[in-house]
């Protein structure tokens, strides 16, 4: 991809630039959490529970007296790991299935389309819940569940891209030169199909983070003491009147991260001018 031009365009636009900054902060927190968090995320201090924000604890403490800021910084790690890892797996799997289905067509395509259409009718959260019910809660389960939940989307998108690109004159020209399927697929079809799929993946990461938070809210995600923004909100509901910050700050963290992802993705779509290609059929 000729990256430099569009990427510069993204970073220069007010929307893209500020979103990129926000994302950079979240990623920074996630990567350097143990070093930048003022406290460890699991040190309890019951006498200091539910304290309002103060100099010692910038965002206050939760019901176990743990520093909320540190927990939120570490929570970034959880959310981003789950979001990026599961969506990456989903994108890779979806691209493989979708590309094969779109390129070869025939019975394989019909089978893939049938399965995709079936799962398509289930919301991702339902799929995730079903899978977690089967394999049990936890961080890994959450990642697997989210990967599978979003598989249909990337399969459909890639398939649509490959089918559209298959008809391009340059593909015919390459075959005419004597190229085999491998060359056509890996040198022309997949590289040209990549931009919309990558951007869709970016936007899905935001969804996945919310999904992880949702699962965490119900205690199905990362198990304590690993901090998860969703689980933090869940336990915060009990203190909502005496310590509202225990819900508000994790909620803001989720919202800010997802908004940053969406704005960034939007800016990339505009810079690459591929809004029309995000259609899935």
């Amino acid at each position: 991809m000729r990256l430099s031009g569009p990427w510069r365009k993204v970073l220069r636009s007010p929307r893209g630039g500020s979103a990129a900054l926000g994302l950079a902060i979240v990623v920074f927190c996630a990567v350097f959490a143990p070093w930048i968090a003022p406290y460890a995320y699991d040190i309890q201090n019951l006498p200091g529970a539910n304290r309002a924000p103060s100099i010692a604890h910038w965002l206050g403490t939760d019901e176990f007296g743990r520093d909320l800021l540190s927990r939120i910084i570490h929570g970034a790690r959880t959310s981003l790991t789950v979001g990026v890892a599961s969506i990456s797996a989903s994108v890779l799997g979806g691209m493989a299935l979708g590309a094969a289905a779109g390129y070869f067509g025939g019975a394989f395509d019909r089978a893939v389309t049938a399965i995709v259409d079936l799962t398509w009718s289930f919301p991702e959260i339902l799929i995730a819940l079903i899978l977690i019910a089967i394999i049990g809660p936890g961080l890994q389960s959450t990642m697997i569940a989210i990967s599978i939940g979003y598989l249909a989307q990337f399969t459909r998108l890639t398939r649509a891209q490959i089918m559209a690109l298959k008809g391009e004159t340059y593909v015919e020209a390459t075959i005419n030169l004597g190229a085999g399927s491998f060359h056509v697929m890996f040198r022309h079809l997949l590289p040209n199909a990549l931009p919309p799929v990558i951007v869709a993946g970016m936007l899905a990461t935001g969804d996945a983070i919310i999904l992880e938070a949702t699962l965490g809210f119900f205690g199905l995600g990362a198990q304590p003491p690993t901090p998860s923004w969703g689980a933090m909100m869940s336990s915060g509901t009990a203190q909502i009147f005496i310590a509202p910050w225990t819900i508000i700050f994790p909620g803001v963290a989720i919202a800010a991260t997802v908004i940053a992802i969406n704005l960034f993705g939007d800016a990339v779509i505009d810079a690459l001018d591929i809004r029309g290609r995000l259609r899935e059929s």
Binding site: R2, T169, Y170, A173, T174, I175, L177, G178, P191, N192
Partner: protein, 338 residues
């Protein structure tokens, strides 16, 4: 039910006015496309090309002219085996393409190439011109070291009159005419003997069209190429081609042995009347043709042109005329002109 596939007619082999010198021989070529209206609709068959037979003489330019639905683009792809025929043979330099294995066919492609109609989508937008020109070698497994690569790219660009500096550009930085030159250069990279030119100038400005035709003429003479030139523009075909095959709704209606031969088929006559001259003192009288080009799905019995032909008789509507040879001129009509 579609008509049964035609047996290769004995008459067709009588068409070989150029057979010992033919680089390409096409016999009884037919191609059907099936489509279904919706999931439960009736299955319809479109016969895009029907029983087409002719020779392409070595070193000459053979033109194929016709309007939409005549099957010329399908024919181009059948000739290069980008599509498989439903019936018929394509014999390239003595080799029946049907008999080749997939890898043998891929190798043979070095000798027969195509220049595509749309220069705007004929090159992968992500590739540089240099990569696009080197792709033929890559695909055919011909290894070139970096010095040889540079030399090849420079040679190809010079051959089509482009600046060597253009190698680093991307397609979107080039004009339509420049892109088409790159397309031609790419087609010539592997030293083919035969080029199919599928409306190579249709999407270009007039002044650029003429440039490209001039380039193609020069290349043909220099490299002793054989061309199959496909176009809807009869004026251009008559200028550029030595022999002209006229197609209508998938069939050959006439083969003109020279570009200035007088037309004998009413459709060819109508095409000529519709090709205006850039000369107001020679205005055409446009024959009043009734109706439109019929849909290829609903082919009537008899001559496909009968519905529009001013001279059609009852026989024309019921009995389809065969392509018959009168000297070196072939025409498929019950009442040919002259």
């Amino acid at each position: 039910m579609p008509a049964p596939l035609p047996a290769i007619s004995a008459r067709a082999s009588a068409m070989d006015d150029a057979s010992p010198h033919a680089l390409l021989t096409i016999r009884g070529l037919t191609r059907d496309f099936a489509s279904r209206r919706g999931m439960f609709g009736a299955r319809r068959v479109l016969r895009a090309v029907s029983d087409v037979s002719f020779d392409v003489p070595r070193g000459r330019v053979t033109g194929i002219v016709g309007e939409s639905g005549c099957g010329k683009s399908t024919l181009a792809r059948l000739v290069l085996r980008l599509l498989d025929p439903s019936a018929g043979q394509v014999i390239f330099d003595g080799v029946d393409l049907e008999t080749l294995t997939a890898s043998a066919l891929r190798k043979l492609r070095q000798r027969m190439q195509m220049v595509f109609q749309d220069p705007y989508s004929a090159i992968d937008p992500r590739y540089t011109i240099r990569s696009a020109l080197l792709e033929p070698f890559q695909v055919q497994g011909i290894a070139l070291d970096s010095r040889e690569q540079d030399a090849k790219v420079a040679e190809l660009l010079a051959m089509v009159g482009l600046n060597a500096a253009m190698a680093q550009s991307h397609p979107h930085q080039l004009s339509g005419g420049q892109k088409q030159r790159v397309g031609i250069a790419r087609a010539l990279a592997l030293n083919p003997a035969f080029l199919v030119l599928d409306e190579p100038t249709a999407s270009l400005d007039v002044s650029i069209q003429a440039q490209i035709i001039g380039l193609l003429e020069r290349l043909q003479a220099e490299l002793e190429l054989t061309y199959l030139f496909i176009s809807h523009d009869l004026g251009l075909v008559r200028y550029f081609c030595d022999r002209i095959v006229v197609m209508y709704l998938g069939r050959i209606v006439e083969i003109l042995p020279t570009s200035d031969a007088a037309p004998r088929h009413p459709y060819t006559r109508a095409l000529m009347d519709s090709s205006f001259e850039p000369d107001p003192t020679r205005r055409r009288i446009v024959t009043k043709l009734s109706g439109e080009i019929p849909s290829a799905f609903d082919l009537q019995p008899g001559c496909a042109f009968a519905a529009r032909c001013p001279a059609a008789t009852a026989r024309c509507r019921s009995e389809r005329p065969d392509l018959t040879r009168e000297g070196i001129h072939a025409v498929a009509c019950h009442h040919p002109l002259n």
